[in-house]
Assembly symmetry: D2
Homo-oligomer: 345 residues x 4
Amino acid sequence: MGASGYVGGELLRILLFHPKVGVTCATSRRYAGDYLHHVHPNLRGITDLKFMEQKPEDMVDRCDLVFSALPHGSAVKAIPYYVERGMKVIDLSADFRLKNPEDYQKWYGYEHPHPNLIERFVYGLPELHREEIKNSSLVACPGCMAIASILALAPLVKGNIIEKERIVVDVKIGSSGAGVTPSPATHHANRFGVVRPYKPVGHRHTAEIEQELNSIGESKVKVAMSSHAVNMVRGILSTCHTFTLRPLAIPDLWKLYRGSYQKEPFIRLVRDRKGLYKLPDPKIVIGTNYCDVGFEVDEHVNRVVAFSAIDNLVRGAAGTAVQNMNIMLGIDEKTGLESPGLYPV
Amino acid sequence: MGASGYVGGELLRILLFHPKVGVTCATSRRYAGDYLHHVHPNLRGITDLKFMEQKPEDMVDRCDLVFSALPHGSAVKAIPYYVERGMKVIDLSADFRLKNPEDYQKWYGYEHPHPNLIERFVYGLPELHREEIKNSSLVACPGCMAIASILALAPLVKGNIIEKERIVVDVKIGSSGAGVTPSPATHHANRFGVVRPYKPVGHRHTAEIEQELNSIGESKVKVAMSSHAVNMVRGILSTCHTFTLRPLAIPDLWKLYRGSYQKEPFIRLVRDRKGLYKLPDPKIVIGTNYCDVGFEVDEHVNRVVAFSAIDNLVRGAAGTAVQNMNIMLGIDEKTGLESPGLYPV
Amino acid sequence: MGASGYVGGELLRILLFHPKVGVTCATSRRYAGDYLHHVHPNLRGITDLKFMEQKPEDMVDRCDLVFSALPHGSAVKAIPYYVERGMKVIDLSADFRLKNPEDYQKWYGYEHPHPNLIERFVYGLPELHREEIKNSSLVACPGCMAIASILALAPLVKGNIIEKERIVVDVKIGSSGAGVTPSPATHHANRFGVVRPYKPVGHRHTAEIEQELNSIGESKVKVAMSSHAVNMVRGILSTCHTFTLRPLAIPDLWKLYRGSYQKEPFIRLVRDRKGLYKLPDPKIVIGTNYCDVGFEVDEHVNRVVAFSAIDNLVRGAAGTAVQNMNIMLGIDEKTGLESPGLYPV
Amino acid sequence: MGASGYVGGELLRILLFHPKVGVTCATSRRYAGDYLHHVHPNLRGITDLKFMEQKPEDMVDRCDLVFSALPHGSAVKAIPYYVERGMKVIDLSADFRLKNPEDYQKWYGYEHPHPNLIERFVYGLPELHREEIKNSSLVACPGCMAIASILALAPLVKGNIIEKERIVVDVKIGSSGAGVTPSPATHHANRFGVVRPYKPVGHRHTAEIEQELNSIGESKVKVAMSSHAVNMVRGILSTCHTFTLRPLAIPDLWKLYRGSYQKEPFIRLVRDRKGLYKLPDPKIVIGTNYCDVGFEVDEHVNRVVAFSAIDNLVRGAAGTAVQNMNIMLGIDEKTGLESPGLYPV
């Protein structure tokens, strides 16, 4: 559902080549009847599928699992129908991410119409909730900046080595994060070459970052988040500045991060001594499901800077969604997601 | 051989995921002993292979087929050893592309040391030479701009409908075409935002474009080629302006182009009535082996403008090389090359 | 009039620092009442002027000269009022550029409502019409691609050395040429990194290029024009491919171009033997009123390639408009326009 | 001296149009004898000046004031000669910025050869040291990131309202900051589209930021600085995350920032309620001497985020240098520096 946006396009791209599932329908109110490739030009010659109207009864007949790439507020209206009929649902909006129903009012400005459904959804970050995902049929995929920031910070929070209320998350994101709808903010002549502080405080992903980090540490965190639009299409770099409770050295950090991630198929620890790519850079993960995570120690101020880089449309959305699907269906988690990315691009 | 450049990196990326072949060695004089991912950061976590020195005897033992991504002038020295030992060779340099030995002096400034070897190499453009490739063990892959331009022009030349000495080929190319070696010309602050006419006349690919077009038409063509560096990393758009001998309409062109390409797995005809992507654009083929070809008729001056868009490192080099390998080995031509590309990117 | 667009903004930027004129009003229907800098953020701290509604009577009182940056179709409705009242008018739309009233139907799809006014407007390209501009109070500024292409081609046409019906004009332009209105075509994620053939045939500027070149040569020209959107905000490179009637050498071209332009304050001949900037590149003229013109000879096919680079918003619009104003007012032509541009940018 | 780099080029661009001074010589070891415009192509047609060797005696004869754009380590060797002869010197390297001679060893890895000269140089940030600059003939211009960060933070430090050891400075910078020398890091194909954490800890400008902030606040600050390379040529955005000692509101910040800067000719406070450019963005200051400063309050964590945007080559180097010159010479501080910048660019 909602297959005509950028995230919908990425889901289709991945699923059309997935060896274990088939795409039976792709809905779009606006483009119903059009070929997919009119909207997603990379799919030209790949499929003859057309967009269709969202007809719930039809979809129940034709699908075992629904991905919803509808915007928040719309997803929460469409999804209960499928839940009631026992279908598997993977939602990419924010509508089922936050566990506390009151948080929807606070961060998204609406009262949640189905608070009882919330607890049935698992927060779909495999690195934190793999077992729950495996046993669930309802998954709420995390926000793109949340994925990057949680994965960078989790080992530090888990290790109880940082000041929990002095966590600065400084995010840089490409223009695809704004979706497909043109606006003055995304107009090429206005958007090209910017470093625009577009959400300096109050970013909604703060809520889920704190929710998830609070679930793994001993004490409560507070996250000071600011996001910037930069001159690229895809990619997020999350720079997480933290102050350590005691002096730390690089080997300590290797231990923490390896301890958390060494078996993770989609996390690469990137912290070399030299080279252009000794730390994470979104340029290197474009088109992939990897989250590259790195870190550095600042002895001058007892700081640890943790970096994570993702493709906001893949690891930040469609890729993680498919990873969740694989886990739910008992398929090898990497299926359909093994692309190594292009270099240079 | 020559695996540390951008084309070498793309070959490795494709071959490491190719289900029917294995990579047994990757040579680089400069990086021998280093992990591949130190040079090709997208391969981090994908392979533990290291670069090795080029040791011909070793390679003969370990390989059935050699790709050479050495620069022209070096390839011609390294390759005969393998030819003599009966290995399959796919060369990505210019050293065996031109059939007339004298052309090397004219266009590349050196006397060809092995003129007798030239005729044993097939010009590796499957759309023109598939049968010869199938029966050969030596292939010279075309130049990137040549691939794009030949594929755009071939149906027009074959159809004998254009003035053969008034063919203008205006090429726009990204910075990866310049290779990995930094220079003032490729320095980001100098190179960003340019539309730089970097080879306004005398481009070397002119020679192979004329050679190939001459092999399919009735009379001799002359190509007026100019190339421009534009602000992107990957991609070529070749805009081919031709003047028609008689007025033509769009259906005539559909007939010509469909006649040439309708069974081709890696050519997509892109000429819609509307939409942002109604004509070829390199943005849409980044990371793919597609050559998107389109055309337009200018009634004002009896002109046909033919467009082709490729990824210079894939369709323009490593992808076509693997396509040639598949054909030589009798494997399905699309194997390892099915990626649809990313949108947007 | 029409001061809230990109061209309007550039006019304001230049005029606010012009030592001989003052800006008394800037109109915008949409932003009336707003500070200029809310729309043109570079003017923050420069002026406290606000946009006002277009009130013709008021303007007659307050202004001696009106610049119209209204779109075509609107300009032709607004301007007659001021003409009738004897004001000087410099129009930046297409509404008075074409001398043949029937051309408006053909190229712009409307019947010209004031054909009698057309001949009173001078085509405002100083290099071709300086004396007429000096003696006129009504000027129609040329289109941006027309300026670049005419200036590149005029010496060749004047010299009667090229085939007049085999002139290929291949234009590359930045996104600011599309104006301020967001659309899917200008959406950063869609527009970034493209080489999009957006007007492969039938570009409207063809009409004025032919009109002007016909006025200087002995025989009639036909122009085969195609335009491409490339990944930058400002700038045009016009690559003009021409076939010569007889073999020519570089000194012949120097003679032609110097003969036409050596006293021109805003044309620089750029054709060095070496260096990164040996030929025109829009990167070098961003923010300036220069048109850089260069050329190359292709002995292989008796071709001359002429290049011209301009900033589409300055030399292609606001700068030429002010140059015209200076000429009309008897002010030194360079006044307010001497900025050398930034390097690198 | 050192006139062939990007900063040298900007100095020449500004000084060649400065109404009160003349450029008598521009030195470059590498390009001696070449026209300036061979290196700085924007100066073509502007000047016939050539680079010359640095001949100290000559320069003493021909100049009253020397700008040194030599790299650190070289400047400190060249400058004493001119100081001894009583010339005015404005140095753009780091060699005289730090007041504590030991800091050169710590941050730059060399022992300062002329520690006695250090105290004679004023730290050339007019907003902090205008009176001293006026009375001095020796000025050390600040580093580009230091200028941006100090100007963003100074009012907060002066106001004693933030935690002094929890100051995070997250900088984003364009490629021109890396200078003119090509390297793999600046190679377009490698550098395009990055968000590269290139100096995550230990950036040298930390030293001067702390030095200057310590000189204005009551207690000692510690700065936690990280810098990122982003995809643009010019510009710096410094995002300064600070934690306040007590809850603050926007009017409190307006009071602090206005108190510090309201008479400053080159600081614009940018903090609107709406609009694309409601906070500083380097895109808007390209080519200008402005430092745009803005701020936001985060009630969630008692944070103030301060932003500053500059053009690293103008306000971050050549522009501030000329501003210092104007102050030293008793000329109106804005002379030669009034360009409002281009929009869009």
